[in-house]
């Protein structure tokens, strides 16, 4: 099967990031994290650039990654390292730019308490 029609947009943003500091339960499944979920439904690989904004210093980026054609990719913000990790427990936002349309959702797993809490919603289209 070939699905070739792109969906989404080329610019997305999130305002309320904050990677929880504490975790309970087995790693890595229950490790607290923020993540971005990408869907590239089109036939061209997406070149994605993420810029991270903070409360008290200049933005950092771009973080570069690729999302293959006709694929999803979930990326934990905790795992971004180049040009620098995002500190835990710190307010941040992000702007995501892609050279082809993609869909971007934001999600959080917070296991500060063992029961855990989840967030998820589509990012704002730029």
């Amino acid at each position: 099967m070939k699905s070739t029609k792109a969906v989404g947009a080329s610019c997305w943003a999130i305002a309320g990031g904050r990677i929880p500091v504490d975790s309970a339960g087995p790693e890595p499944q229950r490790t607290s994290h923020d993540r971005l979920c990408f869907l590239n439904a089109g036939d061209a690989e997406a070149q994605v650039e993420i810029t991270i904004f903070y409360a008290d210093r200049e933005p950092v980026g771009p973080y570069r990654l690729r999302v293959a054609a006709r694929r999803v990719r979930q990326v934990r913000l905790n795992d971004l390292i180049d040009p620098g990790p995002i500190p835990l427990g710190t307010d941040y936002g992000c702007v995501v730019n892609s050279d082809v349309p993609v869909l971007v959702e934001f999600a959080r797993l917070d296991t500060t308490q063992p029961a855990g809490a989840q967030l998820g919603f589509p990012a704002h289209t730029g």
Copy 2:
């Protein structure tokens, strides 16, 4: 009573699917699942096609279903079987196409922990 005005759109997408592997509590109410919630507020039956996108293989679909005129329908992604089930614990996204406007929401019940967690939000209009 007759309500005949369609709402929504003909293309919707979700990026961050992942059916939780574990469940706690009575089946099927507390079985962990992802689901799509359809509202067809119009007067024509909707022919819906769902395509599932993965991280590491070609998309699978279409999964076909119908939503009757002036009806809702909630479908657990766990229950889609033709042309193939969605594996648990696996990142996926989906694109939903309908021949008439419908509203599509995404929801998750995650009872990996007994307290359970819920997600829900409108899909992105493609």
Copy 3:
């Protein structure tokens, strides 16, 4: 202070309603419920009509209510009675029409488990 500029839209919809059957904790604060949250930021009272859609029968409505100018109003779907209550544990959707622009959010408190779970998001603008 007078705030007179309306925000929102005149048609909103929700696809994934389902009032949880069970509750734990003190009533009415911890009673499981679905609710609609209205903001009428404008200077004219809003006449609102809600139609409820089901999986297996014709839609029911309109349920009529008013949201005063420059006011919010939160309405538990559990409490709608005329022209008929919404059964618990039953899939439903709704379409909300207003004669002036309002903002509509959907929210759920599910205390099936004592820890409770919450949902909340803006409805889809029809």
Copy 4:
């Protein structure tokens, strides 16, 4: 690095505010609260005005705050004091106006129960 392109809009609104009365766990991290999350991705400081709407009295505001250029800012509604605090356990909505485009998300931490519950979603663009 300089990121200079603004994202978002100049008017946002929330309908379903209600700051939880009770909290469990260490302050201030686990104190129940509603908050607004701002991202100002542009090169000009944002002058923001928030108006709070209630169920049974006239709106209160504006609450004024600034979001620096290329910065995020998270503001707990609990902490707004001028021209008056928002009472706990009280339904409210808000309209946010900014002189330059910003992104606004709404979030809630509810630790009425120790496990805690979280909400988060982009506000509605007015």
